[in-house]
Each structure stands twice: as C-alpha cells, then as structure tokens.
C-alpha cells in the first residue's frame, strides 16, 4: 500500500489543472506567484491535507509544504526569479532528478543499518544546506536573513532549500511526492524496540547557525493548524477528486437525493478504503488537536532527530542512543526497557526529564490515541451525503483502559480492542491512517512505523465481554459481504419509496450523530442497530399502550411481581444487621481476617435478598469513601455446570481471565494460601457469596474443603458467605470441613403471618387495591403452610389478576356504573384455591364425562368395600349400575377399558397394564375426598354428588 499511494496522490492535484476556470480564478488572485498550471487553492489544500494525515517528521519539509507561498515570497525577495514563473518551471525540470536522487539517498540509510547509515546520509546531505544558505547569502547579502525571527527563520531556510533543490514549488506534486516517499520511509520503525528515526540532517548545521533550535518547531505547527482549519471549511474541492474515485469503483452517481456509497475514497490526498483503520479526531475544538502530530522527540534531550532512536518497550518513549546512560552503540536485540521504567519497576520514584522551558512535549498521534485523546476507527462503509459531504461509518477501536475491566497486566502497550460500536463520522475528522493488526501480522510487522496497533479481541460494549477476533471474523466477513450484496442490488433498482424512506431515516440519524461523534452518543443512539442499513431492532409501540393509564390493580400486579425489587426489606432488620456487622467487621480492619458465615433458612425467606441488600449498602459506603474497597464475587451453586467450575467463576470474577478449573484452582491456591498476588495491587479483601452452597458438595467434598480452607490462611483476606436451605449442612459435611466453617450461623426462620402481611403491605404502599382482610387472609394462609414470602406475593398477585379480570368482564358485559376495583377476600380465596389445590383436582374437574363416572364408580366401590384396590371387572359392574340408574348409556367394555387406561396414564388412578382386561387391578392415586371434592360440583353430571 505505501508504494501505491504516492502515485495516486500524484494524480489528484493535477486533476483540477484541466478545468480552465479554476486556473483563471487562480491567476486572478493577487498573492500567487506560482505557475498558472498549478491552481493554488486545491493544490495547497491537498498538500496541507496530505500533511495532516501524514505527520511529517522533518521540520523543514513540513515547512516547505505548508508554506509554499511564503517560500516564494522569500525567493522573490532574494530576487533570483521574481515572479518569473516560466523560469522557475524551466529550472525545475533539470533539477527534478536530483531531487529524486536525494530521496533515494535517504532511503538507503533508512533501509539499511541505521547506526551507520546515519553518518552516510549526513555526509550526503550536509553539503546541500550550507551551500544553499551560503548561496543565498552571497547572492543577496540579505538583510532579511539577519533579522529573521524565530518563526521565520526556518521558513527562510526552507526557501533556500527549496530554491536549491529545484525550486519545485511551482508544482506541489513533486515535493509532495518526495515527502510522501520520505514519509513512508521515515515512518518505518522496527517494532522490535528499535525505532530508527532519521533525523534532520540538514537541520543540524542550520540550527547551529541560527541558534534557535528550541523554538522553531512551534511556529510552523501553529501556522499549519490554522491553515488546515481554513482548508477544512471548503469541502467542495474534494468532491472532484471523489467523483473521480467514483469511477474507479465503477459506480455511477445517481440523480436525486441519494447517498452514494463508495468502496474507496481519496480524500485530501489520503486514500481511504473500506476496511482501513484511521485515526479520528475526538472533538472538533479539542486543544490537543491543534498541535499537529510531530515527529517523536527524544525523552531526554527533547530534540527531534539526530540519529537513531530506540523505543522503550514499557513506556513506548523514544530515546536517542546517544542520550542514554550509558549510551548504546547499536540497537540491542530483544526487549529493551529504558532506565526510567526499570527504576519505576524497582519501586523508585522517577521523573522523566522536564522539557526545556517554553517547550511543550509534543505527543505523537499514537501517544494521543493511547491516552484516549484521539480515537481510532475501522471504516465499514463510505458514502457521500446529498449535500456533498463525505461520511464514513466507523467501527470504534478502544484502548484497554476504556473497557469495563480496565487495563489488564496481559495487555500490550499497543493493544486495542475492536468494539461492536458504530458511528457515522464525517471524513473531515479523519486524521490519517493507522495500522491495526492481528497478532500474527503484528508479530511480522517490524517496520510499519509508529502507528501500529494490535487487536486481538472484539469487545462488546453492552455486555462487556471479549471475543477473540479469529473466532468471529470468518463468519462475520461472510455476513458483511452478503450485506453489501444486498445493499447494492437493492440500490440498483430504483424503487424510490423505499429508498427515500431509508434515506430519511438515515439522515435523521445522521443529524443525531453529527453534533458530536463521541463514543457515548454513538453507543446510545445506535444500540442494537448494526450497519444502519438494515432496519434491525425497530419496534412499534402502539398508541393504546402508551395512552393507557395504569389502574390501581395493574400497578398492584406490577409491584407484586417477584422480579420487582422492593424498596425496603421489612422484617429482616435483625438478620441484616448481623450480616452487616459480620461483613464490616471482616473488611474494616486492615488485617482483614478471613471468616465464614453460613446462612440457612427455608426457601422464600429473603436470605439472598438480605445479603445482597447489605452488600449494596456497603457498596454505597465504599463509594462514599468510608470503607476501603473490596471485591464481591457472587456465585450460585445451581448455575454451575459442575461444582468444580466454581474455581473458574471465582478466578474470572477476580481477574477477568477465564481458565480451566484446574488452572484456576492452582492460581487461586497461590493467591489465597501462599499470598501471591494475582493482579498488581490486588490486595483488596474479597467477599465470596455462594448461594445454594449445598450443591457444591461433591463426593469427596474437596471443593467445599478448598473454599472453606482459604479463609483460615493468614493472608487470604477472603470472606465466605454461604447460603443454603439445609439447617444442618455443616453437620452433614465431613468434620474437617465443618471445623473450618467456623461457628457463625445465621438462621432465617419462616415468616409468620404478621411479617408476611407487613411485607405485602410495604410493597403495596401507596396503592389502594387490596382490602386489608384480603392481605391478612393470604398471609395467614401462607404462614400456616410454609411461611414462604414468594408464595404470599404470588397469591396476592394472582388475586389481583382475578379481580382485574372480573372487573373487566363486568365492564364489558354489563355497563354497570359501579365497578369495584379492590381485591377482596373472595379473590384471594380463589387464588389460594388455585395455588394450593393440587393439579390433580383440576384434572379431575376437567376430564371427560365417562372418566368422571369412572372415578365416581371407583370412589363408590371404595366406600362399599372399604378396600383400596379393586379389579376392573368389579368396577365395570358398578359403572353399569350407575349408568342404568341415572339414565346414561353404558359405553361398552372396550371404551371403559380405554377410559381406565387414560386415567391411569394421568396417574389419577394406579392400574396394571391394560392387557389384563378383566383382572386388571385399579386403585385411586389420590384420597377419595379429593375426588369427591372435584366431582361434586360438576354441572353436566349433577347426579354424581349422591354417590360421593
């Protein structure tokens, strides 16, 4: 790619040449001293543009490109070729090859051995600049030169260079190309910690002469950025280039208000293609963006260039080989860490040398990105808006610090994460290309320059999960391709309506995205919508849902849902206090002695909820700063595939890594028993909540043993809270485990009816939907049987549903004026009947007529004989008796047998296999009372009652 780009760029500025009006307008502007062939405006623009994406490292080169006009003026002042464009251009021709030669010269040392090459280059170049300077001076004697201010001095020097080098500013193509080439070479950086930067060879003598070395990078930079901003406002010019690129992609621009999608766009000299990675400006007005990225300075002497630089693998800072103590002769093999980082690792406080007064350390784009002052994105699609602006859809990269888990020790310095977060970005905010590579490529990429990043995982911003790119890339690529195909084909046919709608929708969305292209906004406005083109995740919310005002009953129903988190937890104050003192006592002192608490109680008595509420309270205290931070790991034994997996879960919660349980066990042992730190600075106390502890009991109980053994170790700082239903779990375990479990127990007894009543009414606070007696009735009923709060809530909710249903029926059937919207005793009773009545009663109530008679006959037979068991033969006799005496037709033996078998399948009766026919033994599976209760009220067979 780097080899191709220059050529294309080479073409781009030429393009406007062909338009004559352009030229005219150019020539009419008073300030031009350029050849008429090269229209100034687009030219400068493009050059500036190209500068922006590709930070030039050599100062004067940057100058010569950014200030061509100034250069010319100076040249005029020199009087060598004042205003004579023709002459200049003629001069240019012979000189051009020389220029190229120079360029080649430069290349050689770069590619070759750096340490030596440097010297060679200096030799090759040194003659040029002094000569240039001298020639100027001798020719003119130039008073200007003497009085140059620091801002100007480099420019002057520049001009001289330019003049010398072939007066190429008649045509920007040349310098630009040269610059391009240089750029490509100069950005070369061997990743293996050797950064070779070819310093400004010519600069050295110049600096020596002018003596203003420290200041001169500043002024061109300011100038540069100003001009860039001006340039940005005019976007129209780029359109021409873009249309050209349109042809490349063989896409014809459609008339009308349509977006045009491109595969490749050449924008301000940079060529951007779908799939490329680019730096994106973070804010339009951010101060950090004003400084144009600079060639990296040495961290010691704060000068750019001057020989080979080496990169520290830890802080990524660059150092001159000479500036190091002791100085290095050549770049060492393998990792190299600078002295500052080494010292820091040893625990010393180190300060990097301060930059000289008045000079700010200029950060490179890479540094800015890693400090999250810039962003990187991957281009997913490119298009032109109707108004002619160019946009791209980017997929953000984020740095590890921006993920939920923060930077982990295993993250490399240059690691990025690809996200599933997309945003529409204007092309304007692109700075330049960067290279984000897979680990494989990254390992190979030795000399790709400074903008090389590694990306191995995709980060899900909603779920905070990581996925290895290698795993998802294959299918996703295919998917993308298909999506593109679809899009293209649908664009081909001119179905206007659909298209327009789409456009409008898109446009609206863009309007959203435009004001600020921040991650945040992008994440929110596009949640769940990928690629913008497909309409995924849109949901119609019908009007009646929105307008409907919730009735009291409906609110009651909602608040009684088990999933609703209550505002307060009544009736468990004592227990919660105990848990609070336990946890606080454990984590508050610096020692953090390990402890264990076992909480037991019947289901539905608020065990887990209380613990979680306590943890929330403590969390808020931590946030307030009154308690030291701790980490809280919650595990539910029921959710583990195997008890051993708990190690994996705990380890993952502590460090964010997922390893096999064996490995996790080993690592956790290291951490808790041996006191080794898994993560740096991770000596926070850890609270481990294990719900359904009894499910961790394996055959040899080693899992529980290990978990309960850790708190008894000196430096574990582990607090275990186990929750289970079984009261005597510790006693059931091996004695060695119960010995380690300690004596701290907490019992959650079943609620009594007052407590249940309080719980329900606290939930229903402010909602007047229940009669007081109804609540009491429900709670008494539940308290008598199980004391399970869940059940009480369910009954009340069900009662509310029944009441709601009844009310709506009343409204629809009779237009009665007074409709009660309160849950009464009757509703609660109905709900209780439903809840506590075993399902078999329902089945019996709803079974067929013959089955009912069959069951009645069974009961009748039972009453008659007093024997639980009967045979089919006897039953059939009874059955026929019942039928004949009540005017029913006897269905026949076969049918009867079939009915019996059906009931047997439902397990309402227990029966032998059906092939025994007459002698088949039958028995009711449920008490006869149940059958009687179920069948007494049956409407179609009222006569059954007298046999029951």
């Amino acid at each position: 790619m780097p080899t191709e780009t220059p050529r294309k760029q080479f073409q781009s500025p030429k393009k406007p040449k062909q338009s004559p009006n352009n030229v005219k307008s150019q020539s009419s502007t008073p300030s031009i001293h350029l050849s008429p062939q090269t229209p100034q405006l687009p030219l400068r623009r493009s050059s500036r543009r190209s500068l922006q994406p590709f930070t030039s490292k050599t100062v004067d080169e940057m100058l010569d490109l950014s200030t061509p006009r100034k250069a010319l003026e100076d040249l005029d002042g020199i009087g060598k070729c004042s205003g004579n464009n023709r002459k200049e251009s003629s001069v240019r021709t012979p000189r051009a090859p020389k220029c190229k030669f120079n360029e080649e010269d430069r290349e050689i040392p770069e590619m070759g051995k750096v340490g030596e090459g440097n010297g060679v280059v200096e030799d090759a170049f040194c003659p040029v600049s002094p000569e240039a300077l001298e020639s100027k001076k001798t020719k003119k004697g130039l008073s200007e030169e003497g009085s140059v201010k620091m801002g100007k001095s480099p420019k002057c020097k520049l001009n001289e260079d330019l003049g010398k080098l072939g007066e190429g500013n008649g045509d920007v193509v040349l310098p630009e190309k040269r610059k391009k080439g240089l750029r490509n070479e100069e950005s070369v950086k061997t990743r293996k910690s050797l950064r070779c930067k070819l310093s400004e060879e010519r600069e050295i003598p110049d600096l020596g002469k002018l003596g203003e070395a420290t200041f001169f990078p500043v002024s061109p930079q300011a100038l540069e950025s100003k001009k860039r901003k001006k340039g940005e406002e005019k976007r129209a010019v780029t359109r021409a280039m873009a249309t050209r690129s349109l042809k490349k992609v063989n896409k014809e621009e459609k008339k009308g208000r349509k977006r045009v999608y491109y595969k490749k766009v050449v924008y301000d000299g940079g060529e951007f293609e779908v799939g490329d990675d680019v730096y994106v400006k973070r804010r339009e007005d951010a101060s950090s963006d004003d400084e144009v990225p600079e060639m990296e300075e040495c961290r010691v002497c704060f000068k750019v260039g001057r020989g080979v630089m080496i990169e520290c693998d830890d802080c990524l800072g660059g150092f001159h080989l000479k500036c190091l103590t002791p100085p290095l002769k050549e770049v060492p093999d393998g990792d190299w860490v600078c002295g500052f980082c080494q010292a820091r690792k040893l625990g010393k406080d180190v300060e990097f040398p301060k930059p000289p007064e008045g000079k700010k350390r200029v950060r490179t784009l890479r540094e800015k990105l890693l400090a999250s002052d810039l962003w990187a994105a991957r281009i997913e699609s490119l298009w032109k808006e109707v108004d002619g602006s160019y946009w791209l859809r980017g997929r953000w990269y984020i740095i590890p610090e921006e993920t939920a888990s923060g930077r982990q020790p295993h993250n490399l310095k240059r690691e990025l994460y690809r996200t599933n977060d997309f945003a529409d970005i204007e092309m304007e905010s692109i700075i330049r290309h960067c290279n984000v590579m897979s680990p494989k490529e990254y390992a190979k990429a030795n000399d790709q320059g400074d903008d090389v990043f590694l990306c191995e995982y995709e980060y899900d911003i909603q779920w905070h999960s990581f996925k290895r790119l290698a795993e998802i890339d294959n299918d996703e690529d295919g998917e993308c391709a298909n999506g593109d195909e679809d899009w293209n084909s649908c664009k081909e046919d001119d179905s206007d309506t659909d298209e327009d709608m789409e456009y409008e929708e898109e446009n609206e969305r863009n309007a959203h995205a435009r004001p600020s292209t921040t991650h945040q906004l992008a994440a929110n406005s596009r949640k769940g919508r990928f690629f913008g083109i497909q309409k995924v995740g849109t949901k119609m919310i019908p009007e009646h849902v929105r307008c409907h005002k919730q009735t009291e009953l409906e609110r009651a129903k909602a608040t009684l849902l088990l999933a609703t988190l209550p505002k307060s937890l009544p009736c468990r104050n004592k227990e919660m206090e105990e848990i609070t003192t336990f946890v606080k006592g454990a984590i508050c002192d610096d020692q953090c002695l390990g402890r264990c608490l076992y909480i037991h109680g019947v289901p539905g008595t608020g065990k887990t909820m209380s613990v979680l509420a306590v943890m929330r309270n403590i969390k808020s205290e931590v946030d307030a700063g009154s308690i030291r931070p701790y980490c809280f790991v919650e595990v539910n034994g029921l959710k583990l595939a195997a008890p051993e997996n708990i190690y994996t879960v705990i380890y993952e919660a502590l460090t964010g890594h997922r390893v096999s349980w064996k490995k996790a066990l080993q690592l956790l042992n290291e951490r808790f028993s041996d006191g080794k730190k898994i993560a740096k600075g991770d000596d926070r106390p850890c609270i481990l909540l294990i719900d359904e502890l009894d499910l961790l009991v394996t055959r040899n109980q080693s899992v529980l043993y290990n978990i309960l053994d850790w708190p008894t170790k000196p430096h574990s700082k582990l607090i275990v809270i186990g929750i289970a239903n079984t009261m005597d779990l510790p006693e059931k375990l091996l004695p060695r485990i119960s010995s380690r479990m300690g004596i701290q127990r907490l019992c959650f007894g079943p609620y009594n009816y007052q407590q249940l009543q309080e719980i329900i009414s606290s939930r229903l606070k402010g909602i007047d939907a229940f009669e007081k007696q109804a609540v009491e009735f429900a709670s008494r009923k539940v308290a008598a049987i199980s004391g399970d709060a869940r059940r009480a809530l369910e009954i009340c909710r069900r009662a509310a549903e029944i009441a709601d249903y009844n009310m709506k029926n009343q409204i629809s059937s009779v237009n009665s004026s007074r409709v009660k919207d309160v849950v009464t005793m009757a509703d609660v009773d109905a709900a209780i009947q439903e809840m506590f009545q075993a399902p078999h009663v329902q089945v019996m109530k709803s079974c067929s007529k013959l089955s009912k008679i069959f069951l009645t006959a069974m009961v009748y037979e039972l009453y008659k004989t007093g024997m639980g068991e009967t045979t089919f033969e006897k039953l059939a006799m009874t059955f026929s008796c019942l039928c004949t005496s009540n005017g029913e037709a006897f269905p026949g033996w076969d049918t009867l047998l079939k009915v019996g078998c059906k009931l047997g399948e439902c397990r309402i009766i227990l029966c032998e296999a059906g092939d025994r026919h007459m002698v088949q033994k039958l028995q009711l599976n449920f008490p006869s009372d149940d059958v009687a209760f179920a069948l007494k009220g049956s409407k179609d067979l009222p006569w059954l009652a007298k046999y029951l």
Partner: protein, 508 residues
C-alpha cells in the same frame, strides 16, 4: 535458635537454660514495658509486636520444664496476670489485636501441648535424613488438633537441624491433597522437585519415572533427601487405591530418598488401605494427635493471649470455653472462634451501653466529677474483660440445640406433621413412608377441623422439615414412598409444642 540445639543435646541443661532465660526475660524486659503500659496503653498496643518474641518463649520453656502439671500453670497464671492491665475494648487497635490473636490463621510460632508428637515426627525425620534412607509416617487425628500446624514447624526444624549438623538439608514438598486437580498429579509434582529442569519425557508416566529413579543407584550429588508432607491424605484414595499405594511404595524402593509424611483424620487409614505394605513390613509409623483436653485448650488459649499486653478474658471464661469445647470435640478452631464471638458479644454490649450512656450522661452531670470518675473507672475495669457470661452466651450460640426454637417457629401445618409423626411413631415403629404419614396428618387435621393440604404440598413440607434437620427422608423416585424417620427426640417435640392446646390434646 541456639536453645533448640541445646535441648536436643541435653534436655536437662536446656531446662536450666530456659529457666534462667525466663528469669532474665522477666527481670530485664518486663518492667520497662509495664511502665510504658501505664503511661500509654495505645502506645503499648503498638509496641506489642516488638515484645512478642520474648514473651512467647517464656511460657513454652515453662511447659517444657513441667509438661505434666497443668494445675501448676493455672495457679501461676493469675499471679502473672495481675501485672497486666485491663484492656480497653473501645480502642479499635486493641480490638483488632485481640481478634487477630484468637484468629485461626495466626499461626503461633510454637505449638504448645504437642511437643511429644512433634518430637516423634522430628526424630523420625532426623533418623531418615541421617541414615539417608526412605521412610513413611502417618499422622492422624481429629480436625483442629494442630496436625498441619505441627508439621509446618517440624518441616522448618528439620531444615534448621540439618543445616546445623552439616548435613544436606532435605528438599521439602508440602501440599494439600485437596488442591490437586487429579490424584496422580502428585507424582509429577514429586518428579518436578527431583528434576526441576527436565521436562517430562514422552512415554513414561511420572510414576514410572520415579520408580526408575528410586530403583537405580544414582550419583551422590543429585541425591538430596526429599521430605514430602501430604495433607489430607485420604483425598488420594481412589477406587483401586492405586495412587495411595504407589505413593507409599515409593519409600520401599532400594534407593528411594523420600520421607513421606501423610496427614489425615482417620486413625486406621494405613491399616485399611495399605494392607500390602504391612506384608512388606514397611508399614508407616503412626503418630496420633489426640483431641485436646480442657487443660490443653486452656493453655493454648492463654499462650495465644500472652501476645497481648493486657487482660482480655477472665480466667473462668477461658476455662469454661476450654471445658465446653473439650467436652464437645476438642477442636481448637472451635475454641478460637468461640473466643472471638465472645469478644464480639462484649463489643456489641459496650456499643449498646455507650449509646445508652451517651443519653444518660447528659442528665447525670450533677454528679460530682470525682465520684463520677470513680464510678467510671471501677465498672469499666469490670466490664472491659470478657466475662463468663459472655463466654456462656457465645458457647450457647455455638453448641445450643436450636431444635425447640425451630419447632416453635415452624408454620402450623409443619407442626401438625411433626405431631402426627410423633403420634405415628408412638407405636414403636421406626420409620414410615410419606404416604402413610399423610394419612395420619389428615386425621389430625380433620379432628382439629383444619382443612388439610394436598399431597404435593405435604411432600414439599416434608422436604422442608428434612432441610431443617427434623426429619430424615429416604431416597425414592416417588414422593409418596419416601421413607420418613424422625431425627429429633419425641420429647423435644412434645416439649416444644406443649404450649398449643391442639397439640397437647393430640399428644396426650
């Protein structure tokens, strides 16, 4: 530690030395500390770690000199204690120090009351190292009797001793068998210790490697003895017992260099699982750690508390704790956690009283400052130690049987079930099925005019009772045919339920 070497050479001299040392310690070290204490308790608390070594040594020496006279010690202790000041439980630092002292994880530098066992193990190790022969030892004892702790110390002592004697100190591999992912990993660990550099080579398993290693004579240079301490040895018991067997067999090879110390709870593990070793006449020596007696627990607790420069526990409180725990299990961990919970009870009590006095002190201003001061000082002296009642409360929290409370707090229907079970088992039966019990339950319900719950509900209630430890449910696919046994005494149930007339009538 010259003292140890001395002792090993001649215990008598050591005794003398120890006594003189103690005298010197009490003469030289204590008085300044006392002074400091009086001046500033907080400072003393901070200082305490500094003074610990001196203090720790003295009691052990004393024990050495008179191991069989706990009564002596108990008598001696109060006299010593009078020198100490009462602690101030309101001081966070002190509370922390106390809690740390009685925490399980703070390993004391010496293990009191286990000298005999330690000595036996140490002698065994010494003999092995000296003669450069392999050997195996099995340490058993109830949980919380200081097995692992003693082994830790023995490990260190062996190394120290070997260095002292100029022998090559053995390499030590201490591991807990529960933390092995797979039982046979133990061999690769042992092999890894032998050949730290070499990676496992191909086909042969680590066990085979080890066997080869131990059956052939090797160069002297590489023949370091290896001390393997395997905690919770019974986790290595597999179905075919191969691992355990192989492990012990390693010590029988002619050129084996490993000293194996296995630790487990069961007393007869070696007999049960290693019959073949017996036939080879290399049965491991067995060292048994008995459960602590009350005197031992008391002395251990006191030794731990010696670290603190102030009195925390009343003598009687400690004794009560020791007696109770010794009677129940002799588990030191339990004793420590009882102590801790007693401290917490005191803490909570003080907090409560502080909030109360905060209210009352405002109105009690008219009391003259002097009397108020006296009033303040005297009870605080009394209040600030953990008294016998605190300890009793803590013990009852630990050892009480919560059955009566539990039964009384049960929902009504579950109580009826219990009642029906009692009634059912009156006839002398030992167990029944859920279905049968349901019938009995329904009878009672009917007699009391309470609508009974359905069978499904009934069986789920039985499960809850099972969870509460009142019932024992057998395994069965069908709910109805699960066997039910009552796990608590009938008398408990009738006692708990006697308050309700319904049940009184039922159980008459």
């Amino acid at each position: 530690m010259p003292a140890i070497a001395d002792r090993s050479s001649s215990p008598f001299k050591a005794m003398l030395a120890a006594k003189s040392c103690e005298l010197a310690g009490s003469g030289g070290c204590r008085p300044p500390q006392k002074r400091r204490l009086r001046s500033d308790t907080a400072a003393a608390a901070k200082e305490s770690p500094v003074s610990t070594p001196m203090k720790l040594k003295s009691p052990r020496r004393r024990l050495d000199s008179s191991p069989s006279s706990p009564a002596n010690r108990v008598k001696k202790d109060p006299s010593e204690k009078t020198l100490k000041k009462c602690w101030n439980p309101r001081d966070v630092e002190q509370i922390r120090a106390v809690k740390e002292a009685v925490h399980v994880s703070t390993a004391p530098s010496t293990v009191v009351c286990r000298e005999d066992e330690q000595k036996r193990v140490l002698d065994f190790c010494k003999a092995c190292v000296q003669q450069e022969k392999a050997g195996s030892l099995y340490v058993c004892g109830c949980p919380g009797t200081g097995k692992s702790l003693s082994m830790e110390l023995v490990k260190q002592q062996v190394i120290d001793w070997a260095k002292m004697e100029g022998l090559q100190p053995p390499e030590v591999l201490a591991m807990n068998c529960t933390s092995l992912a797979n039982t046979s990993v133990i061999f690769s660990k042992i092999l890894g210790m032998h050949q730290p550099k070499k990676k496992s080579i191909g086909s042969a398993s680590p066990l085979q490697h080890l066997q080869n290693l131990y059956s052939n004579k090797q160069a002297q240079s590489s023949s370091k003895m290896m001390l393997i301490i395997a905690d919770e040895l019974d986790y290595l018991i597999t179905r075919d017992r191969a691992v355990l067997h192989d492990l012990f067999m390693l010590t029988t090879f002619p050129f084996s260099r490993c000293i194996l110390i296995g630790i487990a709870n069961s007393i007869d593990l070696a007999d049960r699982f290693l019959p073949r070793l017996q036939s080879l006449n290399c049965k491991p020596m067995v060292v048994t750690f008995r459960a602590y007696s009350k005197d031992q627990i008391l002395s251990i607790l006191q030794e731990r508390l010696l670290v603190l420069p102030y009195i925390v526990f009343h003598q009687q409180a400690l004794e009560l704790c020791a007696r109770k725990v010794a009677a129940a299990s002799g588990d030191m961990r339990k004793a420590l956690s009882v102590c801790r919970s007693a401290v917490e009870i005191l803490e909570a009590e003080l907090r409560e009283s502080a909030s109360n006095t905060g209210l009352t002190s405002a109105e009690g201003d008219f009391v003259s400052p002097q009397t108020a001061l006296a009033h303040e000082v005297f009870p605080s002296q009394e209040n600030n130690t953990v008294r016998i009642d605190h300890m009793a409360l803590a013990l009852s929290k630990t050892f009480r049987s919560p059955i009566v409370d539990t039964i009384q707090s049960l929902p009504q229907h579950q109580q009826i079930i219990l009642c029906s079970a009692v009634k059912y088992f009156r006839g002398g039966k030992k167990d029944t099925t859920v279905g049968e019990l349901n019938k009995s339950y329904i009878d009672i319900c009917k007699s009391a005019l309470i609508p009974p719950v359905g069978i499904l509900e009934f069986s789920s209630m039985c499960r809850v009772l099972n969870d509460q430890g009142l019932f024992k449910l057998g395994q069965s696919r069908d709910d109805k045919f699960k066997r039910v046994t009552l796990k608590v005494d009938e008398a408990d149930i009738s006692f708990a339920l006697q308050g309700v007339r319904l049940f009184r009538n039922c159980l008459q």
